[in-house]
Assembly symmetry: C2
Homo-oligomer: 168 residues x 2
């Protein structure tokens, strides 16, 4: 496969993966493009490469900034903004984990803890099954949460080293 085909396929694949995991396809494609760019890209260049409108490019770039996966870079003597992606994959994984934890896991955690205290006749099957499940889920989410905290304060080789040391 040649470079141009490879590039196209990577952008497609990354976009598809994103959308399967609840991330806007175009945002993932902009991310893919920046991941393989050897230099900062302008909004114009992104629009051009992905054949998308200015508004769309702008919104998805802003979102990527919000996820801390991309940052602005100013070129002296140029009014335009340029964008660069974080290139270290472990750092990328951490930033995605940090945001998903903050935006999606923490709120669920808080709801589950509230739901552990519903009032109701505990002799009823329904209520018993409910509170049992809330306790189980609450405990699980807490452990997941702590695991993410550990990952966030680790470096890649230590983290995987520990985890993979245990292969049978």
């Amino acid at each position: 496969m040649n470079f141009e085909e490879g590039k196209k396929q990577f952008i497609q694949t990354w976009g598809k993966l994103g959308s399967e995991w609840g991330i806007n396809r175009t945002m993932a494609q902009v991310h893919a493009l920046l991941l393989i760019a050897p230099k900062p890209l302008s909004t114009e260049e992104i629009m051009e490469e992905l054949s998308i409108s200015r508004g769309n490019a702008n919104m998805n770039i802003r979102d990527l900034l919000g996820w801390n996966l991309v940052h602005k870079e100013l070129v002296p003597g140029d009014r335009k903004e340029y964008f660069v992606a974080e290139k270290d994959i472990w750092e990328i994984a951490k930033r995605i984990s940090r945001e998903r934890k903050r935006r999606e896991i923490e709120p669920v955690k808080s709801v589950l803890h509230q739901l552990q205290e519903v009032e109701g006749d505990r002799s009823k099957d329904e209520v018993k099954a409910f509170t049992d499940m809330m306790n189980q889920l609450g405990g699980f989410v807490d452990k997941m949460d702590k695991s993410v905290d550990i990952m966030l304060s680790s470096d890649q080789s230590w983290f995987f080293g520990m985890l993979l040391k245990l292969i049978k």
Copy 2:
């Protein structure tokens, strides 16, 4: 909060979490309902509880069967099918991990490996940046994949025990 409110909120919350992670909201809601049900539910009961159509209920139940999160249960002397969810959260986590690995990670892994071998002038910045990124991503996905394998062959207390032993 009383039981009925709690139930409603759990179904809502689980549905929202699902949709944020790329899973059909209704499928997640059916799952939530079955998670807290003290006994097998029929399609009728699911339609009723969630106010959804028969077709919708049927399709989402089939999907849950495909994820191995729910199984059929036959009641002797009754033509209807009843459905029960796996209730052990670690088992649930494993089954979700297994399916996402199979459906979404493995295909990406295979593409990334192909993309590590694009042909092109390696002295060009573009090509160098591309292959470097593909190598990094390929390595990372391999390690993730192995980590999931370990998780899939572990029990909950061992897995979290190992991971959480290391909190500072």
